[in-house]
């Protein structure tokens, strides 16, 4: 079993300020410093990753960007997954402790442990992280499938080169210049950012991103709500009732906090047109 102390957890995040926190989001953490989280990036590379993450989710006034939402910490955690045992790939379950049961009890945070993996999964993820040529038995079906580069090499080489080639520290660049740097990255690395930055922002915080649920708060997503859920069962009457703050069976809020804007409407119209669908009157 591995546990992360609250202090160490926040150190690893290394992100900017967190907008707000969900109650009990780090419930279950101990103050024992028992897990080592390896550094993979240099300081400059880490800052560059967070800055480039803002191309995927831009930082705006009063609203966090991809960097604030823990991109570098999440990616670094993933890239060094095999530095701990069990590897930092799949958090355990069933509960995170973020929500209480209907009787008010709060379960411990099982998400703080990493799950043991089997030999098949281990080979698969070593290939993903280290590359097919760097893993014993990794070059499956040579000549029929493309070689897998390995995320560690992809990030180390790509970010390292970007940091070296930049005219100024990447984290000091403005949005336009950042977009230029992002556009100059290897296309596979760009796609890796597009895949991993949202994972950091909107995945469970135990993976290193989404600090104290800031990503979920940004998009008004409740995250994991077990064991409470959205339908509360009353044993006495054998009926369910909705949560007033988050109805399941009933309608949503009277006032939409973020209605569809004209640009989204245009995009949805384009999707509909592309697929032969309709905009209904």
């Amino acid at each position: 079993m591995s546990r992360v102390s609250r202090r160490r957890f926040l150190e690893v995040l290394g992100a900017g300020s967190v907008v707000s926190s969900l109650p009990g989001s780090l419930a279950g953490c101990s103050d024992d410093d028992t897990e080592v989280v390896t550094a993979f990036f240099t300081g400059a590379e880490r800052r560059a990753v967070n800055a480039l993450a803002n191309v995927v989710i831009p930082k705006e006034d009063g609203s966090p960007g991809g960097g604030d939402l823990g991109a570098a910490a999440y990616i670094e955690r993933l890239l060094t997954a095999f530095d701990v045992d069990p590897p930092a790939l799949f958090a355990d379950g069933p509960y995170s402790g973020r929500a209480v049961a209907v009787d008010g009890t709060r379960p411990p945070n099982d998400f703080l442990r990493w799950r043991r993996i089997d030999r098949v999964t281990e080979r698969a993820w070593r290939i993903r992280l280290y590359g097919s040529k760097n893993v014993e038995g990794g070059s499956l079906n040579e000549g029929l499938v493309q070689e897998v580069t390995g995320l560690r090499n992809l990030f180390k080489d790509g970010i390292g080169a970007a940091v070296r080639d930049a005219k100024a520290p990447i984290e000091t660049l403005g949005p336009e210049a950042l977009r230029d740097v992002f556009g100059g990255l290897d296309s596979e690395l760009q796609q890796a950012f597009i895949d991993l930055v949202p994972q950091a922002a909107f995945g469970a915080p135990e993976y290193g991103g989404n600090p104290e649920g800031a990503g979920w708060k940004l998009v008004r997503f409740e995250g994991d709500t077990q064991p409470l859920g959205f339908s509360v069962f009353d044993e006495k009457t054998s009926t369910f009732h909705d949560r007033p703050d988050a109805p399941m069976a009933g309608p949503g809020p009277a006032v939409d906090p973020a209605p569809i804007d004209p640009e989204t409407r245009k995009l949805l119209t384009a999707v509909v047109s592309f697929t032969g669908g309709k905009v209904f009157p």
Binding site: V56, V120, L140, I194, P198, G203, A204, V219, T225, V271
Partner: protein, 566 residues
């Protein structure tokens, strides 16, 4: 509980070996042990039910964790180390894709663990489409050698044992049902309310509560579902899902007559020289070691693609008919997506709480051709939602528009405002749609992988063309602002995989007989969706469980499988 071996670890000899622990394998283990047989279950995937063999209780290690189960595919088939290959037809060459092809969950409990466990019964006519449709050019429709009446008591048994919620009589197109469901329906998702309003305006559609193996009351020691929203694609952290693993397999493991080896892959069935009797199975164990197990009876329940693969790996076993691997079917899913201005919060709830069967149609009815049940389906969590937007934005422009991505996530059209009407249309079985071994591609153990050859027939494409406009009308009348039908997949994304070892009376045109036993192999049975001669237009899991129970009842009580229900 030991590491990868569960149940009675002292058992050294077995009456039966069951390959697979999913919706087919779990009832097999349960019935056999209930009647005193010593059973070895061999499961390729890991176990996420800690204490499944502990009388004091068990805990699942599933959780509402999109990183684990969606982004990182913890229980999926890995496309690098356990790929499959695909081609639409033989003319396309050896393969057109290597990677993830119709992979089901790989863990104790199989696909029934991660599914949202929708469990409608088939209709009586579903078992007789060979007769009712006659010759359909290019298709191989056939009657089942069992019918609805034979399966009815097994459906009832499955409903009681798993704990299926529902309301008898609420589906106007359903077959006769002797007993009421053991639990009433749970709460209705809000999207259903909107679709019901649209259905009333459209006419001809009766929305009804979807039978589901998810507790709506305390049942069998499991709590009622709390509608957490992480249902389809996720195991259940609170054990409200009554999957066969937690109801039937657990009972087998607690019987003291069952041993289960997990993370263990069967790679060959060893037969006698004549190929008429199975003697042993050869496996690769958790550390890559080679293992051999023997028994008197053997049951294949590893899902259709893997079942067929294993027979080919075993020297084309059981294939005197040439039918092994053939007539693979999925469901041609027609997915009509509606996006509303209103926030529907369809990411909360059980993914699907209601549906309608009016688009299942009737054989040879031009006004209601055979389609399938329609699921009124909710949306997804934020991570899965994000991939929808990133794909669209990448398609529209080479330069990723992060600002628009952020706005989309905040406005959440694909999570808060979306409903999907998913029609599970029957695929016509075709001899050319098949599983065989890829001639070159191998898995991490050097074992040839399964190759899927599949192309849709005009039969189901016609159903799609017929019903898609009606689904769109329903969305419009329900108040959607945008509506579109998702493009058809070349490789079906359906998790409903059926056929490859079809059952039938004639050994020349079928692989297994009406009892599920292989023609010509005295001690080998199949007990999963491989047996299905046709796919119907309903979710298959309930019929898999019922049929597997019947097959096993027949193993224990030849000629009187119903005695297993006592």
């Amino acid at each position: 509980m030991s590491g990868t071996i569960l149940g009675n670890t002292t058992l050294a000899s077995f009456d039966a070996i069951v390959i697979g622990s999913g919706a087919g394998g779990s009832p097999v283990a349960d019935v056999l042990t209930r009647f005193g047989k010593k059973v070895l279950v061999i499961e390729a995937g890991p176990n996420l039910f800690e204490g499944l063999d502990d009388p004091k209780g068990y805990t699942t290690r599933f959780s509402s964790d999109e990183v684990k189960l969606f982004s990182r595919g913890m229980i999926g088939h890995d496309e690098y180390v356990e790929p499959r290959t695909f081609r639409p037809d033989e003319a396309s060459g050896e393969r057109t894709k290597i990677g993830n092809v119709n992979g089901l969950a790989r863990c104790v409990g199989g696909a029934a663990v991660h599914a949202d466990l929708k469990m409608p019964r088939f209709e009586p006519t579903d078992f007789r489409l060979g007769t009712l449709l006659g010759d359909v050019p290019g298709a191989a429709f056939a009657d089942w050698p069992v019918d609805y009446d034979m399966l009815e008591p097994f459906y009832g048994y499955s409903e009681r044992t798993l704990g299926i919620q529902g309301q008898r009589g609420s589906d106007p197109n359903a077959g006769p049902m002797k007993d009421e469901y053991p639990m009433p329906p749970g709460p209705k998702m809000f999207v259903t309310t909107r679709i019901e309003e649209g259905a009333k305006k459209l006419g001809g559609v009766t929305v009804y509560p979807y039978p589901t193996a998810v507790s709506s009351r305390p049942y069998g020691g499991r709590p009622p579902c709390v509608d957490c929203g992480f249902c389809a694609g996720y195991g259940c952290p609170s054990n409200a899902k009554g999957s066969p693993a937690v109801s039937m397999l657990r009972r087998a493991l607690l019987s003291n007559l069952c041993q289960m080896h997990t993370e263990t892959k069967v790679v060959r069935l060893v037969a006698n020289g004549a190929g008429s009797r199975i003697e042993a199975v050869e496996c690769i164990g958790p550390k890559g070691e080679r293992l051999t197990f023997r028994a008197d009876m053997f049951v294949l329940a590893a899902s259709p693609i893997e079942d067929a693969r294993l027979l080919f790996l075993s020297g084309n076993l059981g294939n005197a008919s040439g039918m092994v691997g053939r007539c693979l079917t999925f469901h041609c899913q027609t997915i009509a997506i509606g996006i509303f201005e209103e926030r529907l919060h369809a990411h909360r709830g059980r993914t699907v709480t209601h549906g309608f069967t009016d688009f299942r149609g009737k054989p040879k009815d031009p006004n209601r051709p055979l389609g399938g049940i329609v699921e009124i389906s909710g949306s997804s969590g934020a991570l899965e939602e994000s991939t929808f937007y990133t794909r669209i934005l990448r398609t529209l422009s080479l330069q990723f528009d992060g600002t628009r991505f952020k706005r989309l996530m905040e406005q959440a059209p694909a999570r808060e405002r979306l409903v999907a009407l998913v029609m599970q249309a029957e695929d016509a079985p075709q001899l050319t749609n098949r599983v065989d071994l890829d001639p070159a591609v191998k898995d991490l153990d050097g074992i040839p992988v399964a190759r899927v050859t599949y192309k849709n027939h005009a039969f189901e494409l016609g159903a799609r063309d017929f019903y898609a406009p009606k689904l769109m009308s329903l969305l419009e009348k329900s108040g959607a602002r945008f509506g579109f039908v998702a493009p058809a997949d070349e490789i079906s994304s359906s998790a409903h995989v059926m056929g490859t070892l079809r059952m039938g009376k004639d050994p020349k045109t079928s692989v297994c007989d009406a009892t599920g036993r292989f023609h010509g192999i005295e001690n080998l049975w199949t007990a999963d969706g491989s047996l299905f001669p046709t796919s119907s237009g309903y979710n298959p899991t309930h019929t898999i469980v019922a049929l597997a129970t019947r097959v096993t009842g027949g193993m224990v009580f030849p000629g009187s499988p119903e005695r297993a229900l006592a």
